[in-house]
């Protein structure tokens, strides 16, 4: 029997939230809910689309090692039911009151000491990203610090002082904070929440929100309610609520299904559960699928990647879906399940048009299967965007090459951002097959690519740039793969 009460931990207590009783929409974002209370004005809205990080809060959950794991997320993109079974930590929770007065958390004190705050509006978000970082890593590298903060924009400081604050905050010699002191209690609270977790079904007015914990239940819901919008991290879907102010009626949140979050590997392939977060994938398959990780390194921000899933990214079939070209290059397949059957499609057949896929209304994407490339194959991913991080591709490329005696025996040149869907530059591929992998042939192929596509001009760039740079990406690929480039 599904229940309707959302249970999560905040400030040490289990909070029960009955949206039906409170007449709150299930697509109310955590940010809006927090800010509706006079006690939680610390979390700020900067953009309501996950592009600035001012609304960053931290979710704590039981990690694989049995300890608490802390994840920074953009609260503007999270619906309230997604808090179910987790601990929510906001900026107000970091300061402890002592007899001597308020005691700042080390990440807060470091921001003060390093002058990491000017106007202060982005500060709570930075503080929370730093908090998640400090709880996850001891003495993180510069790269790791930057990675943790790409999702937070500051318009005042120029960031140097914030980087200094991060270094200072993440030195290991701090006294245990309240979260560490309360860890066992929090863990037992989480365990009790999760042990008792059952499916959520919330009905408020004309809105219906399902959050099942089992795949079979999800498939059954999808069969009964094929009109349901399926999502997991909501990083894309939430924009319809926060930016376009749409009312979403039937929602199937598969983010509570642990079975969809597994990665399995054997000698032949890697199977990534559709609900696995991009951050988790990035941390798990770097050795086997380095080119996929190259792409994930510059996908959104850590806040976004911690929620966004591979299933979600391919399911939206966006012409610029950042992971699609490289999945084309890897010859990935998509696994679909319904109550009656499991179907598997090569990714190129799964995507059928502009935001169109082969998925039936009663199906869920359950996994992405990536055959491990052979040693002879060279696979690379490229992303061209105005800003390296937290920016969607203007053009992206996923390329795969096999050479025999420096002659091209097979090649895939998949591009995003160049057409209504991810598209391979077939003519250039055909031209290169059987040719020597040298400058002359590559330059000719680059010109073929340039003329092959008729991309759009839009907010990201003009068509001419897209055409030139698409061809250039092949040259870059050659330069990085040719033995004598």
């Amino acid at each position: 029997m599904a229940e309707k009460i959302i249970r999560y931990i905040q400030q040490g207590k289990i909070k029960e939230l009955d949206l039906e009783k409170e007449q709150l929409s299930p697509t109310t974002t955590v940010l809006n809910y927090l800010r509706s209370s006079p006690l939680h004005k610390g979390t700020k809205e900067g953009c309501a689309e996950g592009d600035c990080g001012a609304c960053t809060v931290v979710l704590a959950n039981r990690g694989d090692n049995g300890k608490l794991s802390y994840t920074a997320i953009d609260s503007c993109l999270v619906f309230l039911p997604m808090l179910h079974g987790k601990q929510l930590i906001t900026v107000e929770d970091l300061t402890t009151s002592e007899t001597s007065g308020a005691q700042l958390h080390p990440v807060q004190q470091s921001m003060v000491d390093c002058n990491g705050t000017q106007c202060g509006y982005c500060t709570p978000g930075f503080v929370m990203s730093l908090f998640a970082l400090q709880k996850s890593e001891n003495q993180p590298s510069q790269a790791s610090i930057e990675d943790a903060l790409t999702g937070n924009l500051c318009r005042c400081t120029g960031y140097r002082s914030i980087l200094d604050a991060a270094k200072l905050a993440c030195t290991p010699d701090h006294h245990p904070d309240q979260f560490e002191l309360n860890e066992s209690r929090t863990l037992s609270q989480l365990i009790s929440l999760q042990n008792n977790a059952s499916d959520l079904e919330i009905n408020v007015d004309d809105q219906r929100y399902f959050r099942p914990v089992n795949l079979s239940e999800a498939l059954s819901i999808k069969k009964k309610h094929p009109e349901c919008i399926v999502f997991s991290g909501a990083t894309d879907l939430a924009l319809r609520v926060t930016k376009r102010h749409e009312r979403l009626y039937d929602l199937l949140d598969i983010g509570g299904i642990d079975k969809l979050k597994t990665i399995s590997k054997d000698n032949q392939l890697i199977r990534i559960g559709a609900g696995t977060s991009l951050e988790e994938i990035r941390n798990s398959v770097r050795k086997e699928l380095p080119a996929l990780c190259t792409m994930l390194d510059v996908f959104g921000s850590r806040q976004i990647r911690s929620l966004a899933t591979l299933g979600g990214n391919i399911g939206s079939a966006s012409p610029i879906g950042d992971t699609l070209p490289i999945l084309f290059a890897y010859n990935a397949s998509v696994e679909l399940q319904s109550e009656s059957e499991t179907r598997i499609f090569p990714i190129s057949e799964f995507i059928t048009g502009y935001r169109q896929t082969a998925k039936r209304a009663d199906e869920l994407i359950t996994a992405v299967i990536i055959p491990l490339p052979s040693k002879e194959d060279q696979v690379k991913a490229y992303k061209v965007s105005k800003r390296k991080d937290l920016d969607i591709s203007t053009v992206s490329g996923g390329f795969r090459l096999r050479l025999e005696n420096n002659v091209v025996s097979s090649i895939t040149l998949a591009f995003g951002g160049m057409a209504a869907q991810t598209t391979c530059a077939k003519k250039a591929e055909e031209f290169l097959i059987g040719k020597i992998w040298n400058r002359e042939n590559v330059m000719t192929a680059a010109a073929i690519i340039n003329h092959f596509f008729s991309p759009l001009s839009d907010a990201r760039s003009g068509a001419e740039f897209r055409r030139i740079v698409a061809g250039n990406l092949l040259i870059k690929f050659w330069n990085e793969t040719a033995s004598n480039a």
Partner: protein, 769 residues
């Protein structure tokens, strides 16, 4: 001594600083929404609000005809209706206002308002405006020397053009205002504004009431950068109209996309130049035309154009120079103040000229720059007649040239570029010389109100606003130092028009200069009273008349007679408590106006600036020639802030200014579609610098031992000047692009140098090679 932290640092990190949207208001609060034009230029045929009014929870819908006062909100020229009546002149122009119980209701009502337009021809970019000569005001010129003879004497002559783009302020806190009606006609306005006095004036005007009925308070802004100098007035006027109409508190917080669509941006410029010079690269004559896209209304465009013209020399002496400034009207939101206020565009033009000359003569641009710096004793008068005093350019160039190892790196880069086809590096050194003062001379005034309470604590009010720049912190430091008591005993209050009236905007980098002096003036008066009283008190205690007011000092919170500090001393709080009992006034207003400035705007000649702030930067980049991707390898900055009042705050301003400039020069790109719709209306497609866009090596230092005799505590303004340090990055990118053609050609590189602009420039060099 370590510089004190920003006075709000602790509440900032706790999430407890209160911005307008965080102020607790009672349950009567309504949400305000702006309904704006969706077409660029049209006559309004009809507006139907009937259906919208029927929506449950809608409390008021206001149109132009409902404005009780003057339907105007232009700050200088009254050419901006508060609500459009018969016609609209840009997308984003406000037409109707809605007050409703919540956002959702307001949005629902907004969708039901039917506006019928008859569309007219629109001018949607600067090129079209220039072609149609759609000028906003008559062109202005500034000239020194005879151009013809200058060009005649020149061995070489070059012409060219530079385009600079718009820039969105992207303050983290969007425009927000809360209005709470008081008794009678009173209106209490809590506004995120850089200019509370003007916000007060505009609110009074649209409501048709006198200014003494309106109180504007600004505790802090979540960033402003010029974007809340005039544009905040609009939101305040709209909010006040709704609060007035409903008699209830109303808040408008612009949704990010609406903020980006509605409010003005940095002015795009097209700069045309012809320059004459010697074979050594010495400038002899320059004829420069600055064309600015003002948008649909005047706003501050003429002052911005003026500052651009006043900075068209950058840091260089040009014996014969003519600058023509033209502002054009387009059907885009009215462009407005943004850090630098035209200065960046004016300076970019001249730096482009220097680069062009250097590449033409095959000289290192750094050499050409140094060769043309204003002189110390001669060659030191600008094209508008002001002598460049206390010129630090040469010292700073020498220091930075050495500390950045420029010469060696330049050679290493050349070698790298020879060996790499697809990655090129570039380096550039650029100066900043920025004039400090409002060029509208009368604005250079400020007020303060200093209250000392009976316990010896001090409350400082001044006309400046806090937007993160640390003004209140510096003011508190100034007050503590001038009064001789500890910083802990000083508090700077929210800016409030009922405390200090008739203030100027916190702008032109002059916040500390002006308000610091006004606070000092108030404290000087109070000190006179306190020292006089202390002398009397010491004499009373000793039953003599030995102590004289002129011998009384206040230091570290102790008031004493310097001739007998042991016997005749008392702590500050005690003296203050006694002074009160002896009926001494412990509160006073202060005032300041900048002396010895003034110029003839018509002639374009005189002394508009109190002094100049200087800076210098060296930037090195690495460019992926195939993708246009730029890596910021290293930037060294040396900046002149005089005797710094707070080094931590000043360094924060320099770093933040440079990075904001870096955004303008690289990734911040604004495009419109053919109907005038802004395409980059959210951070999804509008890209300001993130944490990985800052230079890998980023060394910022302040020029030491350089007191400024012309400002408070020998300091210098900071704020705007460092923005222009980023021109070094733009030119380093250009240097890298030029390496793709062995430096044989001047790359046609606009601002911003996006990856797109870079690839197109490289492509153009290829095709013309």
């Amino acid at each position: 001594m370590k510089a004190p932290h920003h006075d709000s640092a602790i509440t900032h990190v706790e999430g407890k600083s209160i911005y307008i949207d965080d102020i607790p208001v009672n349950e009567l609060l309504l949400v305000g929404k702006v309904v704006y034009s969706t077409v660029s230029h049209a006559n309004i045929i009809s507006i139907d609000i009937n259906e919208a009014q029927k929506v449950n929870g809608v409390h008021a819908i206001i149109l132009a005809k409902d404005v009780p006062g003057e339907n105007q909100m232009g700050p200088v020229i009254h050419d901006e209706p508060c609500l459009a009546e018969n016609s609209v002149i840009c997308i984003g122009q406000a037409i109707a206002l809605i007050a409703a119980k919540d956002d959702e209701t307001a949005r629902k009502a907004a969708q039901l308002i039917r506006i019928e337009y008859k569309e007219l021809d629109a001018i949607l970019n600067l090129d079209q405006a220039i072609e149609k000569n759609n000028v906003l005001a008559p062109p202005r010129t500034m000239q020194r020397g005879d151009l013809d003879s200058g060009f005649d004497n020149s061995a070489h002559k070059l012409s060219g053009q530079l385009r600079t783009g718009a820039q969105e302020h992207w303050y983290l806190e969007t425009q927000t205002c809360l209005c709470i009606p008081g008794e009678g006609k009173e209106m209490n306005v809590f506004s995120s504004t850089q200019h509370p006095s003007e916000t007060q004036a505009i609110v009074a005007e649209v409501l048709g009431i006198s200014k003494n009925e309106v109180v504007v308070e600004t505790r802090r802004m979540g960033g402003a950068f010029g974007g809340k100098e005039t544009q905040a007035n609009h939101v305040a006027a709209w909010t006040a109209l709704l609060a007035n109409a409903t008699g209830r508190p109303v808040k408008i917080r612009l949704f990010r996309d609406d903020d980006q669509k509605i409010t003005g941006k940095r002015h795009p410029f097209i700069i045309d130049y012809t320059v004459g010079f010697t074979s050594e690269g010495e400038l002899l004559a320059a004829d420069i035309t600055l064309n600015a896209d003002a948008g649909c209304a005047t706003d501050l465009s003429m002052a911005i154009l003026e500052r651009a013209m006043l900075h068209a020399d950058s840091s260089y002496y040009v014996p014969s120079m003519k600058v023509t400034g033209k502002a054009f009207r387009t059907n885009l939101p009215s462009n407005t103040a943004f850090r630098g206020f035209g200065g960046p565009q004016g300076m970019a033009g001249m730096e482009q000229i220097i680069d062009h000359i250097a590449r033409y003569l095959q000289l290192d641009p750094a050499v050409v720059r140094q060769r043309n710096f204003y002189g110390i004793k001669d060659r030191n008068v600008t094209h508008y007649g002001q002598t460049v005093e206390h010129n630090r350019l040469h010292t700073m160039y020498d220091q930075l040239f050495a500390s950045s190892d420029y010469a060696k790196r330049k050679t290493a880069i050349a070698a790298f570029n020879t060996g790499n086809e697809f990655v090129k590096k570039g380096i550039a050194i650029t100066p900043v010389k920025f004039g400090i003062s409002f060029t509208t001379t009368f604005l250079n005034q400020a007020g303060a109100l200093v209250n000392i309470y009976k316990d010896g604590s001090v409350l400082v009010n001044h006309g400046g606003t806090e937007m993160g720049q640390g003004l209140h912190t510096k003011i508190a430091q100034i007050a503590a130092a001038e009064l001789g008591i500890s910083l802990d005993a000083i508090k700077v209050n929210a800016t409030n028009t009922s405390k200090v009236p008739n203030t100027s905007a916190t702008a032109a980098s002059a916040g500390t200069d002006l308000n610091g002096m006004a606070v000092k003036n108030a404290i000087d008066q109070l000190k006179e009273r306190i020292t006089k009283f202390a002398a009397e008190e010491f004499n009373r205690r000793n039953n003599d008349s030995v102590s004289l007011a002129e011998n009384i000092e206040i230091k570290n919170g102790v008031v004493f007679d310097r001739n007998d500090a042991k016997q005749r001393s008392s702590d500050f709080a005690t003296i203050i408590g006694l002074a009160y009992l002896h009926q001494v006034s412990l509160s006073t207003a202060g005032f300041y106006k900048t002396p010895d400035i003034g110029w003839d705007k018509q002639l374009g000649w005189g002394r508009p600036f109190n002094y100049y702030a200087f800076g210098m930067a060296v930037s090195e980049v690495s460019l992926d020639v195939l993708t246009g991707d730029v890596e910021h390898l290293r930037t060294e900055i040396l900046h002149d802030v005089g005797d710094s009042i707070n080094e931590a705050i000043d360094i924060g301003q320099v770093e933040g200014g440079y990075i904001q400039g870096l955004g303008w020069c690289t990734t911040e790109d604004i495009k419109y579609d053919v109907k005038g719709n802004l395409l980059n209306h959210s951070p999804d497609t509008y890209k300001l610098p993130g944490i990985r866009n800052i230079p890998k090596v980023f060394n910022v230092s302040l020029l030491q031992n350089a007191p400024n005799p012309r400002a408070i505590r020998k300091s210098k303004a900071v704020a705007e000047p460092p923005f222009m340090l980023a021109l070094s990055t733009w030119l380093a990118i250009k240097d890298a692009i030029a390496a793709t053609c062995e430096n044989q050609q001047e790359p046609p590189l606009p601002i911003p140098a996006t990856n797109e602009a870079i690839i197109l420039a490289i492509n153009k060099l290829k095709t013309t090679h």
